[in-house]
């Protein structure tokens, strides 16, 4: 009788190694193994990412004497804040940080507003040509900015839209280079750094809203603008946070537009480019005795400078990082 035969074969001895037990062992072992493998991989990769920062921190606190001491590798023996003092002075640190913050913060706000408006317009309104225009938005992401670099530069040098300004100024336009105006104009019209991407994000986000919300607002007597400001925007917080973060960080690190438009104003990204040279000059004019500068010491100071320029971003990131991952998930770029 098949039933009793199966029952007999299933009677297990505690120490019997039958098929099921082995399978369970194997599965548990492989799960532990995968956990271990994953932990090693993640720790290893995190180390690769964090190593430069740790290195810089250790270099920044080292005293001059420690540079040539072969027993000192990561933890300095003589801790000094001298490096910071010299670098802050050379780079005019606080003023530069202030400029960078103003620039990045300002463009962040203007870009977010402009892109939210445009994204909402593309997402929720059907008008002729909306698809073609959105394809043009994507085009602005694809075209490398260097293609329009020369005309943009010349346009801002002699800014004159549709000849209106020329009427007041005796035929010549305004020279907007060297001021914040190019940035204001480009972010206010949603054509700033990677603004096409932000419009895309907002559009995907707004498209994910059900139509019923707008219909309910209409029934309740809200006009289009009221619907936007009182219903759509408050719900758009994830997208807004994402866009603001990206806009701020990318503008902070940008060297392309800042060197083109803001040669005379100090911002962190451009200051960093010349910091090696500045430090070299400062040291060689201070070393009245020999005029020869110690390259290892210059390197120490340059590393401190880089650390100081990364510090504001890292601190800001620590506060904001939790929202970052959450917001991107909820913007609806995906699915």
């Amino acid at each position: 009788m098949p039933v009793s035969k199966e029952k007999k074969s299933k009677k297990k001895n505690r120490f019997a190694l039958d098929e099921d037990t082995v399978k369970i062992w194997f599965r548990k072992l492989s799960e532990k193994g995968i956990s271990l493998f994953r932990a090693i991989l993640i720790i290893g990769l995190s180390f690769v990412i964090l190593y430069p920062i740790i290195l810089k921190i250790s270099i920044a606190f080292k005293d001059k004497i420690d540079l040539y001491d072969p027993t000192v590798v990561f933890i300095p023996r003589n801790i000094t804040l001298d490096n910071f003092r010299i670098v802050i002075d050379t780079m005019d640190y606080f003023k530069t940080i202030l400029n960078s913050t103003l620039l990045s913060g300002g463009t962040m706000l203007l870009t977010t507003i402009a892109c939210a408006l445009a994204g909402y317009g593309f997402a929720r309104f059907k008008f002729r040509g909306s698809n073609i225009l959105f394809a043009l938005v994507i085009l602005t992401i694809l075209v490398p900015p260097q293609t329009i670099m020369v005309p943009t530069y010349l346009n801002y040098r002699d800014f004159d839209f549709f000849g209106i300004i020329g009427l007041f100024n005796g035929g010549k336009g305004l020279n907007l280079l060297g001021s914040y105006w190019p940035f204001i104009i480009s972010s206010l019209t949603g054509m700033g750094l990677r603004a096409g991407l932000f419009i895309f994000i907002f559009r995907q986000f707004f498209k994910g809203f059900p139509n019923e919300i707008e219909d309910a607002a209409l029934v309740d007597g809200a006009g289009v603008i009221q619907t936007f400001f009182r219903i759509m925007l408050p719900n758009a917080v994830p997208a807004i946070i994402t866009v603001m973060l990206f806009a701020f960080v990318w503008q902070w690190n940008d060297t392309y537009y800042t060197t083109m438009f803001l040669d005379n104003v100090d911002v962190i990204s451009t200051k960093l480019q010349s910091v090696g040279v500045n430090i070299g000059h400062r040291l060689s004019s201070a070393e009245a005795s020999t005029g020869v500068v110690d390259p290892a010491y210059v390197s120490t100071l340059v590393n401190t400078a880089v650390l100081l320029s990364m510090a504001p971003l890292i601190t800001m990131y620590l506060f904001v990082q939790r929202h970052f991952v959450e917001s991107v998930e909820r913007t609806g770029i995906v699915g």
Binding site: F122, L142, N155, L188, V325
Partner: protein, 298 residues
Amino acid sequence: MFRKGKATLEERKGYWGWLFIAPWLFGFIMLFAIPLVQSLIYSLSELSLSPTGISLDFLGLHNYEQALTHHVDYNRTLVESIVNMVVNVPLIVIFSLLVATMLNQNFKGRGLARAVFFLPVILASGVIASIESADFLQNMMQTGAMVEETSSAMTSSQLERLLIGSGLNEVIVTYLTGAVDRIYEIISASGVQILIFISGLQAIPGHLYEAAHIEGATAYEAFWKITFPMISPLILTNIVYSVIDAFTENEMTTLIQTTAFTNFDFGLSAAMAWIYFIIIAIILAVTSYFISKKVFYQ
């Protein structure tokens, strides 16, 4: 436009759409469309600045010819940039997919790991990268006070020589060790892609995995049959994003910038930029065409 009296509700709403995109449209025309056309004109002529404005001498295709045949660096830089991109983009996408899969599982310290992996996006400054590669002190710290090896501790030339010497295919070994050497570059460029993949992985409905588990699928099979098709649209997105990222800031763009602002050869710079753009457009079009054929849309 006005067929029977007033416009319908839909059409009236449509006019509001124009209002919302008006700032963008103004910016697009003034800051993109017109400069694009102007750039094309400049690339076909020789531009010189004078106190009263600019003067254009029509040159036809001379600038293009100059860039491709006479210019010392252009061809080389162009090929290097393209090869760089072709090598890096697959590595970036594969790497970020693996990392996203790992970071999507539940383990202690997951939030911290995600924060660390996204850090390079925050710190991605071209200036910092160029300072670090030329840095004296960091090299000194890596090789130790005595300079015995000329390469820094993070390269793998010894291992590479060993593998090739033992008979493995040279092309594969060179490619893989090259990938490992570039690991820092790849990790730095993967932040946004990892984020997008994580979001995509979380959007996959869990019941698919449960059903597969009941049917007896292994984790490996589940990955290839469920995970991979479901995120294939995002693979396309990430490939396009990585290609654009690779082309945004590299040797080629600095060459274009120096030609314009250091050598004051604006026409040539515009021609270089247009050739660069056309090649990017072709690469993107071909890549997206072939990949979107394989994408599984639901």
